[in-house]
Amino acid sequence: MNFGEGLTPEAFAFGLFTILTLGGALGVVTSLNLVRAAIWLMLSLFGIAGYFVLLSAPFLASVQVLVYIGAIGILFSFAVMLTRGMTNLKERFNDQWWLAGLAALTAFVLLMVGVIVPAFGNSGAPVSDQVTTTVDLGVALVSGNQYVLPFEVASLLLTAAMIGAIVIAREDD
């Protein structure tokens, strides 16, 4: 296992973001109050955004914040509030929680031991310090021989989802 070069600022930032992310995740999962769960979620997503920055993907970090936290997080809040009557649950977990925990733990262990450590245990620095820029991403998304089709389809998908969500959630007249 390669633990890197020690405590560099990068490592420090990494650790900070880890705490944010994982802590927030735990908070989401264990929070009794759903509003709080939503907030925890937003916190966790912030951590992810930070990771993206660290990983030289600034565009994606901003998109993460704008869309995930700004839209989806808010959407969650709305949903929680709209389903208010049941927000204060006596119990958070269902009957199979321990089994689920076991399964999750097993999955994690399996991933670690079975995949990550054997395959990437000795991975080190990135291949290159030079990265593509946002411009390249933009070009890639609209370039005829790159990702313009998925891009358009994605937009179509969003349209459909939007319409669908409206239709489903609409009150029966």
């Binding site: 390669n2 992310t21 990771y51 994606l60 969650f76 991975s123 620095a125 593509t132």
Partner: protein, 102 residues
């Protein structure tokens, strides 16, 4: 730089936590939150691999972007469904949606 595997570990942990939330939470909205966590773990994985292994190929970021889009769409529809169900059954508990019970 931080070794790649650390990113992967975090992603794995996040994924597991998210899975736990999906499986164990009673509230449907909470379940959706767990799903979000899982999707974010996937995104983290993608970007980490992109950065460390193929920084010149935009596929990584593009893929992550698309995942994001899909996640958004999915959350929207999911919450719409939850609201519709809530309106009908006055309950947001996953356990109460058992019409497939045989």
């Amino acid at each position: 730089m931080v070794p790649l595997w650390m990113y992967l570990t975090v992603a794995a942990a996040l994924f597991s936590i998210g899975m736990y939330g999906v499986l164990a939470r009673r509230n449907a909205v909470a379940v959706l939150m767990g799903i979000e966590l899982m999707l974010n773990a996937v995104n983290l994985n993608l970007i980490a691999f992109w950065r460390y292994l193929t920084p010149f190929n935009m596929s990584g970021q593009a893929f992550a972007a698309f995942v994001l889009v899909v996640a958004a769409a999915e959350v929207a529809v999911g919450l719409a469904i939850i609201i519709a169900v809530y309106r009908n059954r006055q309950s947001v508990e996953v356990e109460d949606v058992d019409m497939l019970k045989g």
